[in-house]
C-alpha cells in the first residue's frame, strides 16, 4: 500500500500537475485559430431574422480573416441553429464551452435562449457576447460576469417608438398592439403601455393581441384591429411573422386606416412594398443606409459585398451580428495588448470587455457596469427612394441610447413612470438625423 502511495506522490501526481500546467500554458499560446460559436436561427419562421445574422457573420469573418484576423489569428466559427429548441441549444453550448479551444460565444438571437444560456456562461466561465438577446430581463437584477450585450434592449427601443409616434401624432387617442405571444412581445407591450400612460395619459389601448409565434395567418387579428378603429397600431412582430402580417394586412387597408408602427419593420423593406409613412425602425442603430453607416467606407463596402453575395442589402440583424463581431475583435485585441502580445485566456477576454466603448459599423456602443450596451436608437418612416427600388427610411431621428436607459439597478419599466411628459421636448425631432 505504502509503495502504491509513494508511487502516486512521487510520479503520478507531479506528472499530472506538469501536464495540467502545460495545458494551461498551451491555452494561452497563440492558437492557430480563434474558435467561436455563433448561435442563430437558420431554419423555421425565425430564420427570416436569423439567416441575415448568419450571412453577416460569414461575410464579416471572411473580411476580418482577409485583413489579418484578430491579433493575427483567423476566426473559425461553428454555427448552431437555435430552432432546435432551448434544450438542444443548451446542450450544444455546453459541449462547445467545455472544449477549451472555443474562446468566445456569440449567442444568441432568441431572448429565451439568452436567458437560458446566461447562467451556463457563468458556470462554464465562457465569454458570451449577446448579438441580439433583446429582453431587458437579461441583465436585470443580476451580476453576470461572462455575458455582455453590446446592443440595445427592449426598454430604450420601444420607449423610443412611443416618443416618435407622439411627436408625429400628438393627438393620438386610440392605440392597438399586436405582438408575438412570448416574453419579447409581452415585455414590449408593457413598455409601450407604460410609456403611453406616462407621456400621453389619455391614450386608450383598444386592442391587445398576442398571436402565437410562428402563426401563418393573421386574418382574424386583422379583422379585430380593423373593427377597433385605432389611431395607431404598434407591433414588434418579427421574422416571417412580420412579413406574413404585413402581406396580409396591406390588402385589407390596415395601413390606410391607422398609423402603423412596425418596430422591426426595417427587415421587410426590401421584400415587401409598404406604403409611405409607416413608422419603421430596428432594434438599435443598425441601419445600413443611416448617415453614420454611410459615412464609414468599411460599412459601405460590407453592404455592397453582402448585396453581391446574397442578393439583398444587409438588414439590421445583419448589422447587429457584424457589430457583435467588431466588439469581439476589439475585446480580444485589447486583451492581447494588455498581455503585451500574449494570447489571452477566457477570463482575460472578459476583463477586456469591461466598460469598453467600441466604434461599430453603424455608430458606437458603450458597455455599462452591468454589461449592458448603450446604443442609439434609429427610427423613421417608409419613403420612396431615388436610388433603390424598395422603400427606405426617411424622416429619421437618432435618439441618444442613454436617454431611454434606466440607470443601473433600477427596475426598467418602473423607471419609465418616473419620467415627465416634458422629457419628450428634450429629444431630437423627427427628420433631424440627416
Amino acid at each position: 500500500m505504502k509503495k502504491i502511495l509513494h508511487h502516486w506522490t512521487t510520479a503520478v501526481l507531479p506528472a499530472a500537475a506538469i501536464a495540467l500546467a502545460a495545458t494551461v500554458a498551451t491555452a494561452q499560446e497563440k492558437p492557430e485559430a480563434l474558435s467561436i460559436g455563433v448561435f442563430t436561427f437558420t431554419s423555421g419562421p425565425a430564420a427570416a431574422y436569423g439567416m441575415p445574422g448568419k450571412q453577416a457573420a460569414e461575410l464579416m469573418i471572411e473580411r476580418i480573416n482577409a485583413d489579418g484576423g484578430v491579433a493575427g489569428v483567423p476566426i473559425e466559427a461553428t454555427y448552431v441553429d437555435e430552432a432546435q429548441g432551448a434544450e438542444g441549444v443548451i446542450s450544444e453550448y455546453r459541449s462547445m464551452a467545455e472544449d477549451q479551444d472555443n474562446q468566445v460565444m456569440i449567442a444568441a438571437l432568441s431572448s429565451g435562449n439568452c436567458l437560458a444560456l446566461a447562467p451556463l456562461a457563468e458556470q462554464l466561465k465562457m465569454p458570451t457576447i449577446a448579438w441580439n438577446c433583446d429582453t431587458h430581463q437579461l441583465l436585470r437584477d443580476s451580476e453576470l460576469k461572462y455575458t455582455y450585450r453590446p446592443n440595445g434592449n427592449t426598454l430604450p427601443e420601444f420607449t423610443a417608438f412611443v416618443a416618435y409616434l407622439l411627436e408625429r401624432q400628438p393627438d393620438v387617442k386610440r392605440v392597438a398592439i399586436i405582438n408575438p405571444d412570448y416574453s419579447f412581445g409581452h415585455d414590449a407591450a408593457d413598455i409601450v403601455k407604460t410609456a403611453l400612460a406616462t407621456f400621453a395619459p389619455d391614450v386608450e389601448i383598444v386592442a391587445e393581441l398576442f398571436p402565437k409565434l410562428g402563426a401563418s395567418t393573421y386574418q382574424t387579428e386583422i379583422s379585430r384591429l380593423s373593427s377597433a378603429r385605432p389611431d395607431a397600431i404598434f407591433s414588434n412582430l418579427w421574422g416571417a411573422d412580420l412579413e406574413n402580417f404585413v402581406r396580409q394586412a396591406g390588402p385589407r387597408g390596415i395601413f390606410q386606416q391607422s398609423q402603423v408602427i412596425l418596430a422591426l419593420g426595417e427587415t421587410v423593406l426590401q421584400r415587401v412594398d409598404l406604403p409611405d409613412g409607416v413608422i419603421v425602425g430596428m432594434l438599435g442603430d443598425g441601419y445600413w443606409l443611416s448617415p453614420d453607416a454611410q459615412s464609414k467606407p468599411d460599412t459601405v463596402a460590407f453592404a455592397e459585398a453582402y448585396h453581391e453575395r446574397y442578393g439583398e442589402y444587409p438588414v439590421f440583424p445583419s448589422m447587429k451580428m457584424a457589430n457583435a463581431l467588431v466588439v469581439m475583435k476589439a475585446a480580444v485585441e485589447k486583451a492581447v495588448e494588455d498581455k503585451n502580445g500574449e494570447w489571452p485566456s477566457r477570463d482575460e477576454i472578459v476583463a477586456a470587455l469591461e466598460g469598453m466603448t467600441v466604434e461599430t459599423m453603424t455608430g458606437e456602443t458603450s458597455l455599462r457596469e452591468d454589461n449592458d450596451g448603450i446604443v442609439d436608437q434609429v427610427i423613421g418612416v417608409t419613403t420612396a427612394s431615388d436610388s433603390h427600388e424598395f422603400k427606405v427610411i426617411g424622416d429619421m431621428v437618432r435618439y441618444d441610447g442613454e436617454a431611454f436607459m434606466a440607470p443601473v439597478g433600477e427596475e426598467p419599466v418602473e423607471w419609465i413612470k418616473s419620467l415627465e411628459p416634458s422629457f419628450l421636448d428634450t429629444l431630437p425631432a423627427a427628420g433631424s438625423y440627416k
Binding site: T42, S43, G44, P45, A47, A48, M51, D181, A207, E208, L209, F210, P211, K212, G214, A215, S216, T217, Q219, T220, E221, S223, R224, S226, S227, R229, A240, E243, N244, R247, Q248, P251, R252, G253
Partner: protein, 299 residues
Amino acid sequence: MLQSLLPLLIDGLANAALIFFVAVGLTLVFSVLRILNVAHGSFYSIGAYGAATLGLWLVSAGANPWLSYPALLLSAVFVAALFGPAIERTLIRWTYGKGEAVQILVTFGLFLILEDLQRMVFGVQSLYQDTPMTLLGITQIGNVVYLNYQILLIVLAVLVLVGLRLLIKHTRMGRLLAAVVADREVSEAMGIDTDRMYMIAFSIGVFLAALGGALATPTTGVAPGLGAETMVLAFAVAAIGGLGQIEGAAIASVIVATAKVLAVYFVPALDSVAPYLVMLLVLMVRPQGLFGVAETRRV
C-alpha cells in the same frame, strides 16, 4: 348588432373553411381505413408548397395571372396522385390490422420524414404567392375590409361538403366505399376490390388536405411547421365532430374556428387554447364526439 356580429361570422366561417378541408380528409381516411393518420397535416403543407411554387413560376414566366387558380387545383391533384397511392400501398397498408399504437407510430414517423423532405426540397425560408387573392379584390363590410378570396373559401368549403355527400350517396364508388366502411370482409366476399377502395379513400384524403394547403397559400405564408399547426386543429375538429363523420367535421370546423375568433375578439390571451378548451368540454360530455357513435369494445 348585426354590424358587430358580421365580422365574427365571416372570420369564423373563413377560418372554418380552411380547417374543414384538412379535417374532412382526416375523418374520411379514418372512416374507411380505420387509421388515424398523423402525417395528414404534411399533405396540407406539401399542397401549399406545391401551389406556391407553381404560382410563383407562373408569375415569373409572365403567364396570365388567372392561371394561378387552376394552379391551386393542379397542385392538390398532383400531390394526391404522387403521394396517395404510393404511401397507401407501402407504409399504410402494412399497418392494417395492427394495433393503434403501431399505426400512430408509423404515421408519426412518416410525418417526420415528410417534414424533413419539405425542408430539403423547399428550403427553410417562407414562400408567398398571393396572386389569386389580389385578383379578387376586397369588400368592405361595416368597418372591416375583407378579401373576396376569404368569401370564396367559404363557398368552396360548402361545395366540397356537398360534393363529398353526393359522391358517397349517389355514385357507385361512394356506395362501394360505404360498403367497405360497413364491413370489409362482407364487401370482399361480395367481390369488391377493398384494397383499391382503401387506396382511393386514402388518395381522396390526401387530395383534400393538399387542396386545403393550396387554397390557404394566397392568404398565408408557407413555411416549415405549417403542417403540424394545421394538423393539431384538424385533430381537435375530428374529436369534436366524431371521427368518421363528414357533416360532423364541417360543424366542428365552424365550432373550432368560432371559438378561436371569439377568443381573439374578447379574450385574446386564450386564442391559442380556445379550440382545445372547446374540445375538452365536448369530450367530457360526449367522449365519442358530437356526431360520433359509441362503439362497444370487444375484449
